[in-house]
């Protein structure tokens, strides 16, 4: 049996290894080593827990069994999941962290002796507060992530669900969570504990349903952050350093990602969280839409334009993920490179459904990461490029964000696609994008619309090159 002090030191070591795991992600070269540190930290934490309990009887076998079952399921999912489904996977994983936090809190509430927290109905006040916070945040993470998962998976419509008095209801529920926590701490009643959990599950659902599909990058980052805070809450209850450090790391990581995503859309965090974006504007813009002429072309025209270009910038978006067009795109680019055409990729921060979504898909298609650029690094290059190839992106290229203060996306940083000599825009139809506004780019003199499925069109262009 490991002494409490020694195990605390090992937990600290695993906390430090987790910090190094995140540090490794500062560049792709060090990232694999970082992941290894993370795995090592986890092995240490689990081993130390076993050793410090020092009970290797029947319960130990059961623990290993459940560990193995989970491990097999997790490994199976990790190997099978297509890269395009990464946002759903991450949302699903968040829900599991949330639920695990809830279960640990329940176990600690029912059997506080095992955790050294006092006895049932007489739990130490501090521990009870920490436990309630961990359980409530965990429950919110769980149900919120389930909704995010359903929306990303397409089981639930991606459009915002709003109703009258929604914000008032949410505010009342949030207040009731605080009141319940207070009452729970003063009465130690288990009924209140269950009510607190139920209400927290409910608010998780209600908070996410009004948020639309394309705001999912913010939602996923936010839930990532919540899962961290839930872990930290449980870490305080268990007086476990590894859990506290990790919770804080994950919590701030998710918060930073949410901030970056909000900035990428020039919207405040609250504007995203309160939801309903795109629902009202959409109907308005459809009514006022005047018929403007567009130039549309076919694969042959597009191939001709690109063959005569000396530099091409590719702008991928969520549509590329939906059409699974990344491999076809890479093939087209390889053909262009054979003709000595310079190709680079421009990624908008909110392209796709989660932070870094496009980068992973391009990496999957074997695109070298040093050909892929972030918005601020490449935006000046559009003016010197011959062709911009927009595949599955829309709002992030809309020049209206720079010119029309009335537009809902005004002020959002956009890719200066229109400065290219010519623009090729793959899209199924002229329908507006997520923000529900028309894209001026469609009607520009130098834009050629390619109305087709992204994958099919890209393949056809390759044939014509």
């Amino acid at each position: 049996m490991l002494s409490a002090n020694l195990s605390a030191i090992f937990y600290l070591i695993s906390g430090v290894l987790f910090i190094l795991a995140l540090r490794g992600l500062s560049s792709p070269e060090t990232s694999r080593q970082g992941n290894f540190f993370g795995i090592l930290g986890m092995i240490i934490a689990i081993t130390v827990t076993f050793l410090s309990i020092g009970n290797f009887s029947t319960g130990f076998i059961a623990v290993l069994m459940f560990l193995l079952i989970g491990g097999l399921i997790g490994s199976f999912i990790a190997y099978k999941i297509p890269m395009t489904a990464m946002p759903e996977l991450v949302a699903g994983f968040h829900s599991l962290v949330g639920l695990a936090a809830v279960f640990v809190a329940i176990a600690a509430f029912l059997n506080p002796e095992a955790f050294n927290l006092g006895s049932p109905n007489n739990i130490k006040l501090g521990s009870l507060i920490e436990m309630s916070i961990g359980a409530a945040v965990g429950a919110i993470t769980f149900s919120g992530s389930i909704i995010a998962f359903l929306k990303l998976q397409g089981i639930m419509s991606g459009s915002p669900i709003t109703f009258k008095g929604q914000h008032l209801l949410n505010a009342l529920i949030l207040i009731s969570i605080i009141v319940l926590t207070y009452l729970l701490c003063s009465t130690q009643s288990s009924n209140l504990f269950w009510i607190l959990l139920a209400v927290s599950f409910l608010i998780g659902f209600l908070l996410i349903i009004p948020i639309g599909g394309a705001d999912m990058p913010v939602v996923i980052s936010m839930l990532n952050s919540y899962s961290g805070w839930a872990a930290a809450g449980i870490g305080f209850t268990l007086e476990n350093t590894a859990l506290i450090i990790t919770g804080a790391l994950v919590g701030s990581s998710g918060a930073i990602l949410s901030y970056i995503m909000c900035k990428g859309m020039n919207r405040s965090f609250f504007n995203v969280i309160l939801g309903g974006f795109g629902a009202t504007e959409q109907s308005a813009s459809i009514q006022n839409k005047e018929q403007r002429p567009v130039k549309s072309g076919n694969a042959d025209d597009a191939a001709f334009l690109m063959k005569n270009a000396s530099s091409v910038i590719i702008v991928p978006g969520y549509g590329m993920a939906v059409a699974q067009a990344q491999h076809a795109l890479k093939e087209m680019v390889d053909n262009l490179k054979k003709n000595d055409i310079k190709v680079s990729y421009a990624i908008h921060p909110v392209a796709g459904r989660m932070p870094g979504h496009m980068n992973v898909l391009l990496a999957e298609a074997n695109v070298p990461y040093d050909e892929v650029f972030e918005l601020e690094d490449i935006n000046n290059d559009f003016a010197n490029a011959d062709v911009a190839f927009v595949i599955g992106a829309n709002d992030v290229t809309n020049p209206v964000a720079k010119t029309d203060p009335q537009s809902p996306i005004y002020g959002m940083p956009v890719l200066d696609v229109e400065k290219c000599k010519s623009v090729l825009f793959i899209k199924r139809s002229l329908s507006p994008g997520y923000a529900g506004i028309d894209n001026d780019l469609f009607y520009k003199e130098n834009t050629l619309m390619l109305f087709a499925d992204a994958k099919k069109m890209t393949e056809d262009i390759t044939k014509n090159l």
């Binding site: 995140l22 459940f66 639920l99 695990a100 279960f103 804080a248 790391l249 990602l257 990496a363 990461y369």
Partner: protein
């Protein structure tokens, strides 16, 4: 007067938030998806709590209500740990540099 151990844990917590802040800002945007999957995996270190709960049952009945919740939490966290690290590994293996000989 003695300082409550809670204060020490709070200090660790606050300082870790700052570490997290600086470390995460240094993560390159192209690795934001692996960042999310790896944070998922490491936040499942909550499994230590689940293991304690699972082993807490007394010897004649290992499956009392509290340890059942522990066992379930072990499986959930294990899905995340294995799934999270492996999928991160899979993603990171795909990030390659341009070949020089081209």
């Amino acid at each position: 007067m003695e300082i409550d151990p809670f204060i020490f844990r709070l200090s660790i917590f606050i300082l870790s938030i700052f570490i997290g802040y600086y470390v995460v800002w240094s993560v390159t945007p192209s690795l934001h998806t692996p960042l999310m999957s790896v944070t998922n995996a490491i936040s499942s270190v909550i499994i230590v709590g689940a293991i304690i709960a699972g082993l807490a049952g007394n010897s004649d009945s290992i499956f009392d209500t509290s340890s059942i919740f522990g066992f379930l939490a072990i499986s959930l966290a294990a899905i995340n740990i294995f799934g999270g690290f492996l999928v991160t590994q899979r993603m990171l293996a795909m990030y390659k540099k341009k070949k020089k000989d081209k």
